[in-house]
C-alpha cells in the first residue's frame, strides 16, 4: 500500500510522506536568510529572475504581518499568501481581544499550529512553505523564529530556508555568526550568505532590516550594490593574496 497518498496515514517506519514532500517543495523555493544582530534582525531573500513583462512590485517575499513582526517565506507563493492572510487576521483578532500586540513568539506558534492542523485532517494537504519571522520581543530583544510544513516552530540566531544549498549556507552562518552583530555586519552577513547561491547583483536579492519599535526598511538597490561590490572586492583581495602566497 502506498503510504504517501493520504496525509493522515503513517508509513510503517513512522514517516508522514506528504509532510516530507512538502519540505521538498520548500527546497524548490527561493532562498531566504535571517540573521539576528544585537539590535536588529536582517532578512535577505533571493529574488528569482522576473519575466521581462512582469511588474516586480507585485512579487513580495518579505511582508509585514503586524506592526512589530516581519515575515519571509520559502516555497509555494500561493500557500504563503493564504497563510500570511490567516496570520494577519489572527494578529488583529489578538489585538481586539487582548488590547495588546501579539508577540512574535505567539505568531510563530499560531503559524506552526495552523501548519500542523493541515497535516492531521483528511482531504487537505500541508502548506508547502517554511517561514522566517523577524521582530522584537516584549523586552525589546531581537528574535528570529522559523516554522516548517510539519508544524514545528523554533527560535534561531541565524537561519536559512529554501533553496537547494540551505545546508551549506547554514554551515556558512554557523562559522561566521557571533553574538552582538552590528546592523552593518548583520546585513553584510546576509548578503554574503545569499551571494553563495545567487548571481551577483542587487537586483537578485532583497534585504530587509527590522529595527526596534517595528521599523522595517527595505534597502535600496544602490545600497545593496555597494555592499555586494565591497564583499566581492574583499573576496578578490583574498584570492590574489592566496595566489601570491602560493607562488612564493
Amino acid at each position: 500500500m502506498s503510504y504517501d497518498r493520504a496525509i493522515t496515514v503513517f508509513s510503517p517506519d513512522g514517516h508522514l510522506f506528504q509532510v516530507e514532500y512538502a519540505m521538498e517543495a520548500v527546497r524548490r523555493g527561493s532562498t531566504a536568510v535571517g540573521v539576528r544582530g544585537k539590535d536588529c534582525v536582517v532578512l535577505a531573500v533571493e529574488r528569482r529572475a522576473l519575466a521581462k513583462l512582469q511588474d516586480p512590485r507585485t512579487i513580495r517575499k518579505i511582508v509585514s504581518v503586524d506592526e512589530r513582526c516581519v515575515l519571509a517565506f520559502a516555497g509555494l507563493t500561493a500557500d504563503a499568501r493564504v497563510l500570511i492572510n490567516k496570520t494577519r487576521t489572527e494578529a488583529q483578532s489578538y489585538r481586539l481581544t487582548c488590547e495588546d500586540a501579539p508577540s512574535v513568539e505567539y505568531l510563530a506558534r499560531y503559524i506552526a499550529g495552523t501548519q500542523q492542523r493541515y497535516t492531521q485532517r483528511g482531504g487537505v494537504r500541508p502548506f508547502g512553505i517554511a517561514t522566517l519571522l523577524a521582530g522584537f520581543s516584549e523586552e525589546m530583544k531581537p528574535v528570529l523564529y522559523q516554522t516548517d510544513p510539519a508544524g514545528t516552530h523554533s527560535e534561531w540566531k541565524a537561519q536559512v530556508i529554501g533553496g537547494r544549498n540551505a545546508k551549506s549556507l547554514r554551515e556558512f552562518l554557523e562559522k561566521n555568526w557571533e553574538e552582538g552583530l552590528t546592523e552593518e555586519r548583520a546585513v553584510r552577513m546576509g548578503v554574503q550568505a545569499l551571494l553563495e547561491v545567487v548571481d551577483s547583483g542587487a537586483k537578485n536579492m532583497e534585504i530587509c532590516v527590522v529595527r526596534p519599535g517595528g521599523g522595517k526598511s527595505i534597502l535600496e538597490e544602490k545600497e545593496v550594490d555597494a555592499i555586494v561590490q565591497e564583499i566581492e572586492a574583499e573576496a578578490e583581495e583574498g584570492k590574489t593574496k592566496a595566489t601570491t602566497s602560493a607562488d612564493e
Partner: protein, 290 residues
Amino acid sequence: MFGPTLVIGNDILDIGTSKFDNERDQRAIGGGAMIPRFAFGEPGQFDVPNVADPAHFCRNNFASACGNSDANQTVKFAKGTTTLAFKFDGGIIVSVDSRSTMGAYIASGTVKKVIEINPFLLGTMAGGAADCSFWERNLGMQCRLYELRNKKRITVAAASRLLANTMSSYRGYGLSMGTMITGWDETGPQLYYVDDDGTRLHGRYFSVGSGSTYAYGVLDTYYRKDLTVDEAIDLGKRAIYHACHRDAMSGSINNLYHVTKDGWVKIHAIDVNDMHYEYLEDKKNAMASS
C-alpha cells in the same frame, strides 16, 4: 470520514475558548431544537430551553426585578446589592455587601460577592448570582489557559475583554450580570466595569447595584486619588455602610479587599450593623466635643 462541514481556520484566539477546543460536530441538543449558529461563542453548548427562540422565551418567563421588564413573570431575578471599587495611588479597594434578596425575603446574608478569579484578579458580583459566579469562574479558566499557553499573566484589559465578548455573544438571552473586573498587571492597577449587554468601561471608580446611588454619593464626595491606604479602606467601608443603611436590598456583611502589586488581600468582613453603632458613637462624640 469527511464531516459535512470541515471548518478549518477561523479560530479566534489561542486562549482556550471552548469554541477553539471543540470540534464542530453535530451535537444532539434537546431533541432537535433549532439552535442558531453564531460567529462568536457557542450558545448551543448550553442546554438552552428546548424552544424555537430561547431568548424570547427567557425574556417572557424570567424577569429582572430592578429592570424594566417586570410583567408578572414567574421567576424574578433581583439585582439587589451594592458593590463598589475604586482606584487610588495605593492600589484598588473593592468593597461589597453580602445580602441576597428574593423580593422582600432576605435569602442570605453571607453571599460572597467578590469572586477571586486568581491571586491577581478580582471580580464583583451584581445581578443574577448564578450568572455572575458561573461566568467569572469561566473567566478564571480562560485566564489560566492564557497563562499556561503564553507563559505570562493575562492583563486586566484582556480579561475584561474576554468576559465582555462572552456577554456580547449571549446578548438577548436574559443573562443578568453587572460586574467589575479589577487587578494589578504590568500596566499598573486597572478597573473595568462589564455588563450583561456587553458594555465594558474603563474607569477610576464604579459602583454597581440597587444601592449604588447611595454609594456614589459618598464616593463622589470623599474620593481623592491620593488617599492613604487606611483612608481608602475607611472610604470603602463608609460608602457600603451608607448604601446598606438606606437600601433595603443591601446589607449584612461588608467584605473589603485591597489590590496591590503583589496581589489582592482581604482586609475585613464587618457586619454593617456594627458599623452603624460605631458611627453613631463617633457622631455622638463629635457632637459632644464641638
